[in-house]
């Protein structure tokens, strides 16, 4: 006798033998359906616990049943049980109880599910569905009977070990079943695959993302042609207004800071009002002036009352939208100015500029720069004395003062408003009714209510209803900070600026002055000059000074003598120590450490063991009041950059391109501000995490994946155009859906100061090219949009874009040159004026190049040359270079074109003059080695220029990494036969073909007319994802793709054979010493290729003797390629 139960038999009734009540409608409920499990019952005492505690019951009952049952082991028991469960299931299904089981409803025919873990709907409901719709339901997993595993969530261990868990079966979410039922057919399970799994697996579609997105992009520009032009209008209007306002602002002068702020506010509100008006009615300039007048009047009316926006009732829904949804991200701290206007990159063309104009963190960040400039001289003295101080090992008494302005951001703003002094005030960028902005600083009266920085205005007002919110006043901050540091530097030479309102002074040397007196003197002076109170802490170490300030606040000072250190620290909670944050505090709490005295009981070793070397050391010494730091100058920035993580939303590629351009402008300005040039550029992207909902903070970045890529260029730069090109390239390498982007940052590192790398302001050809190509692309973009109907152009553009993204530097530069080619049609605005052209250069150019240039100059060029030469020359009447030519343009003319544009560029620099040494610039342009120079280009050059180029080569070789060689580097085989000879002449005799990254041969083969060579080269480009793919992997791929078809002419064949053999020979030489495995692999593959393709058979036969000779030489044997 046997009784069966399942783990979901949820009711105690199930221990009774029950006949299923056919009339029950609630059959989907687990209680009644589980009853059906029990077929035969044996009344034993333990059955009462069934279903309540299945584990325990099953053990005891199975043991007891084993004793009396015929089963020899658990296995046979289980098989019997499964059989019975199947029978039950079948019986239930056949009774038609679960509803109509007409053949049309058997959508799950052949599907057998196993439910793993908790699901919604429950496994019992799922079982019901399976019964009803012709599927099967397995209680126990078996590879043979189960077809789908249904679950909503998997533990990590199962995810990691998915194959052993699922045995290759699909793991599907329960909604698959529900959706299938509602669709009345069996849907594909693929979209319902468990999210955890789909996340882990990179999707193929992700790789094609840029392509699929760029197509609709172009289409959409077609569609939105009309609106775009309107947007342009608006943008222009805006710019006008902004300019006018700026002018007005400066005109008024800086009499009063509050006025200043109001001006900004006004400007914004006006703009907000205008935009809907313009876009709605399309009124133009009269309206502008009207509005302007209106603003001008209001500006006078507005007083210091905050918020000024309350005076302007929302003119349209647009405004209210802005107001309501204003929010702030603490990390990016966008401020009032920004919040009152368009909030995202979507709507505001000047987003980046405005963003940084009004960011508090940005202010703090850039303040440091300002400080360094201002106090550079005084910190010099610090360095020298400082080193001496360190060397002594500080045997004498040290004394530090830590001085901090009290609630700087508030007190500066309210210092001129005595009526606010004693009221609770907080600084925040916005005081909107929703109160979702974050408070950045609060004064002491407000703090007494519990208002803290980082709190939402809403919550703060709950705590303190009379809280007054004031906006930032950056200019005042700057002024106060400057005064503050003036005073500090006056009293002490050793000043370390921590922030705009906080500094350390090293007063150990000032023997004659008591630090306490000095501190009070400074504080007094600070208060008198700036109107802000400062607190000071004095201690024997920087740590103690800082801790003392904590006690001193507000507006006081406190001295911790060295003998009182332990006493002071004893009861100090650990999280007060600098460097101890929330995480570390919690960790310490777990070790039962909450105060410094407890911390002191732990040995240094065990601290270091538990928290790491550095942190352990820090905790150990800090808990003893030790601090080995000494006052230093402000550290040099390691990198300069800008991040925007708030309000970032893009619709299409154009949006992001525009945004990147603005960001680059900002970064370039910052670089220039610091007088720095950078070599490494890192683009950081915040990408919306899959499934991340729209963030709680309006326009915040939410839950994001952080991606970053960087590139290093050989010559440091701050040139905005180079930045733009690089950032564009970096962005392209991400292959992202622009809609997913929530934040973009650009950092420049490997900084050099401008002086050290002073090269005048010569623009390199690289930058020029990139500039031109960027422009071209824009034009091409806009043109594609304009053309609209002609899809051919659009497509061309898309492919060009794609190749750009997908291919390596070198490929890109060739495309760039080809873009220049196409560019010549509408370049007129950016080419140098005719009078700046060097006629000698022009004359020595090939005629077709001149013709092209001529188009650029609208036909004037030829006339000029004719005049000069006195020779007749037919004016080229070829039509505009169409976009379709772009692809084929990768040849001599375009290259010459780029070169010649460069020469013109050179002429454009008045300082340099035409006769200046070409080498200065050449150094930036020259390829790594002479082998990469296109000889034919060189030969076309005038004598003196060629000499200059050759002279520039050796000096240059040192600086360049191969990947960065711009332009001019590649071979081109326009006339294949000649090239074959040329090779011998110029001599690629040695390992040249494998030099560079990508190696030279890739480019060489790409332009070859032989399809196999092309094929191989393309293969390399595909594989380039791996760093420097090996030849064997290329050949391996070639096996699948190279067809046996053979259609080349004899000429082609010879040349191609020669090239491939040379390639192999050089590869053998390269690898023979270190990697015969690779050679072996290559020749095995070559042999397989030879079976399919005559071409490779010949190659194999030609190269084999060479190979064997090499092997014999190095290894004393023959390679066994059987």
């Amino acid at each position: 006798m046997l009784y069966c139960w399942t783990r979901f038999s949820g009711s105690a009734d199930s221990c009774l033998k029950m006949k299923r009540s056919l009339g029950s409608k609630s059959s989907n409920n687990s209680s009644s359906s589980s009853n059906t499990k029990a077929k035969k019952k044996k009344t034993t005492s333990n059955q009462k616990t069934l279903g309540v505690a299945w584990g325990a019951a099953s053990l005891s009952s199975s043991r007891s049943s084993f004793r009396s049952s015929p089963f020899s082991d658990f296995g046979s028991y289980m098989s019997e049980k499964n059989r019975k469960l199947h029978n039950q299931f079948d019986a239930e299904a056949s009774t038609d109880f679960y509803g109509v089981s007409g053949s049309e409803n058997l959508i799950f025919q052949g599907v057998s599910i196993f439910v793993d873990g908790f699901t919604v709907p429950s496994s019992q409901e799922l079982r019901g569905y399976m019964l009803k719709y012709g599927g099967r339901f397995e209680n126990y997993f078996s590879r043979r009977s189960v077809t789908h595993i249904i679950c909503s969530n998997l533990p990590d261990s199962k995810i990691k070990n998915l194959r052993s868990f699922s045995r290759g079966l699909p793991v599907v979410k329960p909604t698959w079943i529900l959706d299938s039922i509602s669709a009345k057919r069996l849907l594909s399970w693929v979209p319902y695959q468990l999210d955890q799994l789909t996340d882990a697996q990179p999707k193929l579609s992700a790789f094609f993302a840029p392509k699929s997105h760029s197509v609709p992009e172009v289409v959409s520009t077609d569609m939105t042609c009309q609106p775009t032009s309107r947007f342009c209008d608006i943008r222009m209007n805006e710019a006008e207004v902004a300019n006018l306002f700026r002018a007005a602002k400066f005109g008024e002068g800086r009499e009063h800071e509050n006025d200043e702020t109001d001006g900004v506010y006004l400007e914004i509100t006006t703009r907000e009002r205008m935009d809907p008006a313009i876009s709605g009615d399309r009124k133009s300039s009269e309206l502008n002036s009207e509005e302007l007048d209106y603003c001008g009047i209001e500006e006078k009316e507005v007083n210091s009352d905050f918020p000024s926006c309350s005076e302007h009732p929302p003119a349209s829904t647009n405004i209210s939208f802005c107001e309501n949804d204003t929010n702030d991200d603490i990390s990016t701290a966008t401020t009032a100015v920004c919040s009152k206007r368009r909030h995202s990159t979507l709507e505001d063309p000047n987003f980046v500029e405005n963003y940084f104009k009004s960011s508090r963190l940005h202010f703090i960040g850039t303040w440091r720069k300002r400080y360094r400039k201002r106090f550079h001289g005084s910190s010099d003295g610090l360095k020298s004395t400082d080193s001496g101080h360190n060397a002594v090992g500080s045997p004498k008494k040290t004394a530090f003062i830590h001085i901090d302005l009290d609630c700087f951001f508030v007190s500066v703003v309210i210092k001129n408003c005595p009526e606010l002094q004693d009221k609770p005030v907080a600084v925040c960028h916005s005081d909107n009714p929703k109160g979702t902005a974050e408070i950045s600083s609060a004064n002491y009266p407000a703090r007494a209510y519990g208002v803290k920085a980082g709190m939402f205005v809403r919550n703060a007002k709950d705590l303190c209803p009379q809280l007054i919110i004031v906006p930032y006043n950056f200019e005042a901050y700057e002024e106060v900070a400057d005064h503050f540091y003036d005073i500090l530097h006056k009293h002490c030479r050793k000043v370390q600026a921590i922030s705009c309102d906080e500094a350390f002074l090293d007063v150990s040397d000032l023997d004659d002055v008591d630090p306490e007196i000095l501190a009070s003197m400074i504080r007094k002076e600070v208060f008198e000059t700036t109107g802000c109170s400062a607190s000071a802490g004095i201690g024997s170490t920087m740590l103690m000074a800082r801790l003392a300030t904590r006690t001193a606040k507000p507006a006081g000072q406190f001295h911790i003598p060295s003998d009182k250190v332990d006493e002071y620290l004893d009861q100090l909670p650990v999280d007060v120590l600098p460097g101890v944050g929330y995480v570390l505090k919690e960790k310490l709490k777990k070790h039962n450490i909450q105060t410094c005295s407890q911390l002191r009981l732990v040995s240094k070793d065990s601290l270091q063991k538990d928290f790491g070397m550095k942190t352990g050391e820090m905790l150990w010494s800090y808990s003893r009041g030790l601090d080995h730091r000494s006052v230093r100058t402000v550290q040099e920035n390691k990198s300069i950059g800008a991040d925007v993580n708030w309000g970032v939303r893009f619709r299409n590629q154009q949006d992001i391109q525009h945004f990147l351009q603005c960001l680059c402008k900002e970064v370039s300005l910052r670089l220039q501000g610091c007088e720095m040039l950078g070599r490494t550029f890192t683009l950081k992207i915040k990408k919306r995490r899959k499934d991340a909902a729209e963030p709680a903070k309006y326009m915040g970045c939410g839950d994001c994946d952080n991606l970053s890529r960087s590139i290093t260029v050989p010559v440091a730069t701050d040139d905005v155009e180079v930045l733009q090109r690089i950032s564009k390239k970096l962005f392209g390498s991400f292959f992202l859906d622009v809609k997913e982007i929530r934040g973009v940052g650009l950092q420049v590192s490997k900084l050099e100061s401008v002086d050290s790398s002073k090269r005048g302001s010569t623009r390199t050809l690289e930058s020029y090219l990139s500039f031109v190509s960027a422009q071209t692309e824009q034009r091409v973009n806009s043109r594609a949009a304009k053309v609209g109907g002609s899809s051919a152009d659009c497509e061309r553009h898309v492919t060009a874009d794609d190749t750009r993204v997908g291919e390596s530097d070198r490929a890109e530069s060739s495309i760039q040159t080809s873009e220049i080619h196409s560019f010549s049609e509408n370049q007129a605005s950016s080419v140098p004026p005719l009078c700046h052209l060097d006629m000698e250069v022009l004359e020595s150019l090939p005629s077709e190049v001149v013709a092209e240039l001529d188009q650029t100059y609208g036909g004037k060029l030829v006339g000029l040359i004719e005049k000069r030469r006195g020779k007749g020359k037919t004016k080229s009447n070829s039509s505009l270079v169409s976009l379709d030519d772009v692809k084929s343009a990768n040849s001599l003319p375009s290259k010459m074109c780029s070169l010649s544009t460069h020469e013109e560029e050179e002429c454009e620099e008045p300082r340099q003059g035409i006769s200046s040494e070409p080498t200065i610039e050449m150094a930036d342009l020259m390829p790594l080695s002479f082998s990469q120079v296109d000889i034919s280009v060189l030969q076309e050059l005038p004598e003196d220029l060629r000499a200059g180029l050759l002279g520039a080569l050796p000096a240059h070789r040192k600086q360049h990494s191969p990947s960065d060689t711009p332009t001019m580097e590649t071979e081109h085989d326009k006339e294949p036969v000649e090239v074959g000879e040329a090779q011998n002449e110029i001599g690629f005799s040695d390992k040249n073909l494998w030099i560079g990254n990508p190696p030279i041969w890739v480019e060489k083969f790409k332009v070859s007319s032989h399809h196999i060579l092309k094929n191989v080269s393309e293969m390399y480009c595909k594989l380039v994802v791996q760093s420097r793919p090996k030849l064997s992997s290329i050949l391996q791929h070639a096996i699948f793709s190279i067809s046996s078809s053979y259609d080349s002419s004899a000429n082609d064949l010879e040349e191609a054979l020669y090239n491939v053999c040379e390639l192999l020979r050089q590869y053998i030489k390269l690898k023979i010493e270190g990697d015969i495995e690779e050679i072996y692999l290559c020749f095995r593959l070559l042999k397989r290729l030879a079976l399919r393709c005559q071409f490779f058979l010949q190659v194999y036969e030609i190269v084999s003797p060479f190979l064997q000779a090499c092997i014999g030489e190095n290894y004393g044997g023959n390679l066994n390629i059987s």
Binding site: E1073, D1075, I1076, E1077, Y1080, N1118, N1120
Partner: protein
């Protein structure tokens, strides 16, 4: 076979030699196992560099392999060893198959222990896959470990050196056929493992 691993990231060239000798010991054991000179019961599974390898159970065999490879240490340290061969030969002392480790050490480079371990591990993984390339051995075959030195060491330069004797194994008359198994081309160590078979012609 004490497989004590040094977890330092940077190890000197001396440690490189030590690692290499250790690796050779394991590799030779694996080769002997692979060739099936002894019944497979004579070996036991062990982990080395996180790979399952076979180690001789018999103390004498184990000692022979250990002494043979560790005896190489002074020569490797002096960069005298050009090749290490595991030679299988028949009763007439004619080699049937030779496993060659060809090494080039560039002591000037710092060794990244983790990187080295990663590279050497791939040898141990690849080695069992060379089985189809191998020839079956005659019944009464023997094997030896032979080191080819770049120059003869001074006699008595070290105690370890004394355990090495000139080999009397015959050489092949014709250049052998070479079948590469695995190559490592990195900076401190360049190591090639390949098979040599007598040329068929």
């Amino acid at each position: 076979m004490p497989m004590s691993r040094n977890d330092d990231h940077q190890s000197s060239s001396g440690e490189l030699a030590q690692t290499l000798v250790e690796f050779l010991e394991v590799a030779v054991s694996s080769i002997v196992f692979l060739k099936g000179v002894y019944p497979s019961e004579a070996f036991e599974r062990q982990r080395y560099m996180n790979v399952v390898v076979q180690r001789a159970r018999h103390p004498e065999l184990r000692d022979y392999i250990h002494s043979a490879t560790s005896g190489l240490l002074p020569f490797i340290q002096k960069d005298l060893v050009e090749r290490v061969a595991v030679i299988f030969f028949n009763k007439d002392n004619i080699p049937i198959e030779r496993f060659i480790f060809k090494l080039t050490i560039n002591p000037s480079h710092e060794t990244d222990a983790a990187q080295l371990e990663f590279s050497l591990r791939s040898f141990l993984i690849k080695l069992p896959f060379s089985k189809p390339l191998l020839k079956t051995l005659p019944l009464d075959c023997r094997w030896e470990v032979t080191a080819y030195l770049r120059s003869l060491p001074e006699v008595g330069s070290s105690k370890d050196a004394e355990t090495w004797i000139p080999t009397d194994t015959k050489q092949w008359q014709k250049p052998p056929l070479i079948t590469p198994i695995k190559s490592l081309d990195s900076d401190p160590l360049c190591l090639q493992l390949y098979l040599e078979h007598p040329s068929s012609s």
